[in-house]
Symmetry: C2
Subunit: 418 residues, 2 copies
């Protein structure tokens, strides 16, 4: 068997992931990789590693000719980008798990990889321990991807699970998540969907060759979901999940968003509970695939970083095949969706924007409707995010043949059947 | 982006998988791979491809210098081995999906790969569309694998699902599977576990570096499972699945077998229904992972072959890291198991071989017991396969600290608690 490149690592960040990685590397000498230096912000914090390992001077790592791999696991996105781009320019391979940094600088990072010929790997940036990026890149390379649906944020999934299983309201479920370490003390990034859409932007690149800034992808989190909505879901035999979805439409374009969604109780995504993540991929040949695992946390993320390090030993790099080789897909906003909207007062709901409304319900504490609306009407003006309104997609929400459906409804009405 | 090797393929076999692959390759020009010649056994069978593509002379493929990849998807194991070994010796890369051939000739195939330096890939040989071999090889390379549990045979899983969900008895469930094309007309290889243990032998190599002939792995199928057993399972809130399992014990050795098993109703393996396959991997860092997808059929298997072809373009080969780099693990038979045994007459049950029996049940149509037994007592003398006896493992069946458990039982008995 051939000999492998020895990896001498410069590590940026010694938080949960960085420290986890450091410990794992000590436990796995077989990898033939060692951390030479760790760059940190605060030199006074007590750390569980030899003092001489640490520095606050990033150039000690970035300009050390012996260091051939930079691992970047810090939380600041702009500093992260500077580190990663300097490292690539200095002919070092890079492993990162910073989803926000990658999502926001995707085009620049693509260009840098092309110019320098260096490898930038980031399996840990989406779904942590689930090898979804590598599998999308390698395994579905030549298979026609119909759709990808996923739960990519563990904190929100934990909260939704508790709202369902223990009927906790949102605030108490969030509190529990924080107590158990599944949500940050400032949970806005998770709760309002920012973290999920960053990951979704990365997965879109590897699933469909689509490079899109997170801002341009319609998303929200679970901040508006109420216990009443969970009760309605239960009645209908649904669960509520925060779902990232991308689907290739009949016209060849791709619909993509991250929104709360009803999922059928015995389906794949309903199986994903608590802090776990799950990805369902539908393709022409492989049919339906489901990947499930821990999507966050010190060791799961570190294990993804580790698998990237392992791949670097044989010079692995993403080829972005769907972008460069197959011609990328385009995102589209031109499709319709079946949505559930719950609200306090009908006056806040733009009824005229709906193609049709097929269910009305007026309960004591809460009212809701189910109807069909053009995606653009959700994207342009976020009426559904304000005034105590809550939007949840129906299962299998995308409607492409809206005129046909209308005709069918009409004829059923004329026949007096509905 | 770098240019890739063009693949000129010689295809052995034009059954469901071979023909599926041929069609897929026609639909995916991006792969830059074409079938130059197909070797078949029966030249008179009508086939949906140009006549000049076919030959019955294997040397036309094996000695064609233009052909750089041999794809072998025939069902005869010995002929398959001859083809694959001749191809490797002739400096051709090989993709195969013949689990039996690979499992039975593993050591010879390892040697041939080492000697020739050529790549032999076989993702399609286990769980078809689920990329389990590549992930075990690459992703869990440096992670400590605690255990792998899987449903690797779709026919038997379909039959068990129908016994559970529609209360069909074994024979009627089998008939339905055959009608729907999920079981062969001669179903013995599936039903009695031969297919599953071949796959298990392959997965053991990539999970733990263990090379073991299928004959040496304890296995059976579902031929002895009765509707009565399914009823007992339901009462206990279990499903019955045919499960391949390998677990690293505290002494560092590995326990492995393929046997029917009770699985908890809300667990991962219970989620796998009908003809699907599923794999649960537990590891130190990535924690619990679950992969799910179609494990058989024309297109799912062909898609796995395709992903191997795709990998060949950048000279990918299995490194068998656990075998060569990390030092392989050893299989052991020295552990205990909790088992359920149902029977018609107690006289066929070797009670003295059990460490203890903790449940007795004598129903009108069927009797059963639940007890602890040494694995060797299941392996030496297959009393549990005869006389209408049915053996099913309890959930989480492996017991390592049997003396401790005995002491605990004893003290509870002395205290009059049980």
């Amino acid at each position: 068997m051939e000999a492998h490149k020895k990896l001498t690592i410069g590590l940026f960040g010694f938080g949960v992931v960085g420290e986890g990685l450091y410990k794992i590397l000590q436990q796995t000498p077989s990898l033939n990789a060692s951390v030479k230096k760790v760059c940190i912000k605060n030199p006074h914090k007590k750390r569980d590693a030899p003092k001489e390992l640490f520095t606050t001077d990033r150039n000690e790592l970035l300009f050390d000719p012996e260091i051939n791999v930079i691992v970047e696991v810090i939380s600041e996105s702009e500093a992260g980008f500077e580190i990663v781009s300097t490292a690539l320019k200095n002919k070092k391979a890079v492993v990162s798990s910073s989803k926000k940094m990658i999502a926001e600088h995707f085009r620049e990072l693509l260009k840098l990889q092309e110019e320098t010929g260096e490898s930038l790997l980031y399996e840990g940036s989406a779904c942590a321990s689930i090898p979804v990026i590598r599998n999308l890149e390698e395994y579905y390379d030549n298979d026609l991807l119909h759709s990808i649906r996923a739960i990519v944020n563990g904190s929100t999934n934990f909260i939704l699970t508790k709202m369902f299983e223990e009927r906790l309201d949102f605030q108490n479920a969030l509190l529990l998540a924080q107590q158990l370490g599944f949500a940050e003390s400032d949970p806005v990034l998770d709760i309002e969907g920012y973290d999920a859409v960053n990951k979704w932007s990365i997965l879109l690149a590897h699933a469909y060759g689509i490079i899109e800034k997170p801002d341009n992808i319609l998303f929200t989190g679970i901040q508006n979901i109420r216990l009443d909505d969970a009760m309605v879901a239960k009645e209908k035999n649904f669960d509520i999940k925060l779902v990232g979805q991308a689907k290739k439409l009949l016209n060849g374009k791709v619909a993509a968003y991250v929104l709360p969604q009803f999922v059928t109780h015995n389906g794949h995504l309903a199986f994903v509970k608590n802090e776990y993540n799950g990805v369902v991929i539908e393709s022409n040949f492989a049919d339906q695939q489901f990947f499930y695992g821990k999507g966050a946390g010190s060791f799961p993320t570190a294990s993804a970083v580790l698998s990237d390090l392992s791949a670097l030993r044989y010079q692995y790099r993403y080829e972005y095949k769907k972008l460069y080789h197959h011609g990328p897909h385009d995102l589209t906003d031109d499709f319709y969706m079946m949505v559930y909207v719950s609200f306090d007062d009908l006056k806040y709901i733009p009824k005229e924007k709906f193609e049709w409304i097929e269910e009305w319900h007026s309960g004591e504490t809460r009212k809701y409707l189910v109807g069909c609306i053009h995606f653009q009407n959700l994207k342009d003006d976020k009426w559904w995010k304000t005034n105590n309104t809550s939007l949840i997609l129906m299962p299998d929400p995308i409607i492409e043949d809206v005129e046909l459906r209308k005709l069918k409804k009409k004829s059923l009405e004329l026949a007096g059947i509905v």
